[in-house]
Subunit: 353 residues, 2 copies
Amino acid sequence: MSPKRSGPTPKVDPKTWVPVTIRDVAKVAHVSTGTVSNVLNRPDIVAESTRQRVLDAVESTGFIRNTQAYQLRGGRSHTVGVVVLDVSNPFFTEMFRGAESRLQSEGYVLMLGSTDDSIEREANFVRAMEEHRVEGVLITPVAADLVSLSGLKTRGVPTVLLDRKATADEFCSVTVDDVRGGELAARHLFETGHAEVVFVNGPTTIRQCRDRRQGVRKAVRAVAKAKKVEVTELSVGALTVRNGEEAVDRILAMSPRPTAVMCANDLLALGVLRGLAAHGVRVPDDLAVVGYDDLIFGSMLSPALTSVRQPALELGVAAAELLLDEVRNPDHRHREVRFEPELMVRASSFKSS
Amino acid sequence: MSPKRSGPTPKVDPKTWVPVTIRDVAKVAHVSTGTVSNVLNRPDIVAESTRQRVLDAVESTGFIRNTQAYQLRGGRSHTVGVVVLDVSNPFFTEMFRGAESRLQSEGYVLMLGSTDDSIEREANFVRAMEEHRVEGVLITPVAADLVSLSGLKTRGVPTVLLDRKATADEFCSVTVDDVRGGELAARHLFETGHAEVVFVNGPTTIRQCRDRRQGVRKAVRAVAKAKKVEVTELSVGALTVRNGEEAVDRILAMSPRPTAVMCANDLLALGVLRGLAAHGVRVPDDLAVVGYDDLIFGSMLSPALTSVRQPALELGVAAAELLLDEVRNPDHRHREVRFEPELMVRASSFKSS
DNA sequence: TTGAAAGCGCTAACAA
DNA sequence: TTGTTAGCGCTTTCAA
């Protein structure tokens, strides 16, 4: 079990682990390094007895193959980078989980970075991952344009955009139709009688926020002839619970007082609900609330949160699939895999009056 | 911007990126590779004009340093492995976030693996990370014993246990006192008049589950003289929403019918709440419910969930801190950083009768 | 069936 | 101030 170096005197401080290389293994097994490499990579071409001897040596020395050397020699890194906007958001961790489940079975290990909407952090992650020679990256880009990904592009690093459309000559992508989702949510409010709506939205530098807003506007136009509706947009700095909570004061100060608030995601909605509860505002009687993402806990909130469901896990799996194709298939063509959002109507938007 | 190779004919297919090495950079800048390496690593020792020329060449070739080669040469991997039980559980992602925020600023990128309580998956991750020569690993071990980590130990890979105690001669660790947490939750139920309690617990192979149970028993013993209480344990396969939901049938079939259910974590509690709601059982009037972890949404559930708070983010930061010390400080001593749980009493356990 | 040796991209002596 | 070169651990011809 303990590492051994042959030679006149063992200069090894027992407390300090001396990295074991195939040379050490070779020495112990009395073979050449080439043979050790062979039993590791093409065991069939080496004689049974030698193979066993080498395997024993691997065991006794505690040898662990050095991936860097393997890669340097031309091997693959077995590594994929994943860059998301926010690890605290279950939507993204579900995507991660989906991707991981698919990629782990192919022998990949994932590097994960959370950018929190920071271009700079994104750039750092992407660069670090490139330096590590990841075989591919799955990313929810921060910026509207894709210039931060141009390096990946020119260097030919297989890249799949998560929850973000790209044109076919750029990248593969998995998306959910956010325009449609925003439209669904807004239309639902209009149809249930709300004419004064606040739309609590994140920074429009975030594509999801832009698209959902566009969907809202589409819904407004669609009902414009039939009835008069007004949507006021309230912009917050980030899609977090805290920001939702902080938006409540501004919502309550509005005049005329809106009858419904639509949030760009569930975390915001959760914050809004908390803020409203703190102010004694009843939902949905005083104010209806709808969210976006349909996070698992939404249906258990008080009141249960109306939300737009996105198949996060499936997005992750699909992204992994696209990446694998790009990595392996020489005839790979970029594709967009698009999912449809689904409105889940619950008590938070259902006016009992 | 496009890659160039010097030589009589550019044999580069423009569609295919040819990896750029420092040799390419050197050629373009008309210097030696050593000089390129110098401007990259010790820019101060090279003449201004040469440096600029090299920097330009780096830019124009799109050179990205190959970490494997750097590491092979003796450099550090700037990589830390994180292995958690369940990425879907916000408790773990909060820890991850805490660790990441600390480690990213030190130039590390994190590899993340989710074991889902599988020893096998854990072993795979740990091995992969060792092969990648991570500088350290943060891990919530699956098994009760730590044999799966013995390799890390003997190979001297700095390792910090997350949410899991270790003795000082083994590893550093960050923990929350789960026995105490379990005790707090159970005592609270007893004190509010519940004498028939179900404890929905996960597999006791999971240490958290064992400890929380122990806490429950401690609370039972403490009140035993004053009053008679009965705690029945219901074991589920995993700490997930679905498992909680599925446990409800068994709970409702119990006789005598319990008056309170204590769950080993909030995900289970969420599932239980959903299940109870589906059966028309009122909480807390018919049945009180308490959870564990105090996930962000708990206070907004209907009814708001009583739970035991654990400072997940702080755990992550503390773990990163311990790891950094072990990596850098030659006089490092293993330590346990222990946090105290806190009971958050809310409506789900507050019997209005 | 095995061994010897070149070389992957990089850094750090050492020499010039 | 810059260039030359050995060598990190591994895989893979090529020879024996």
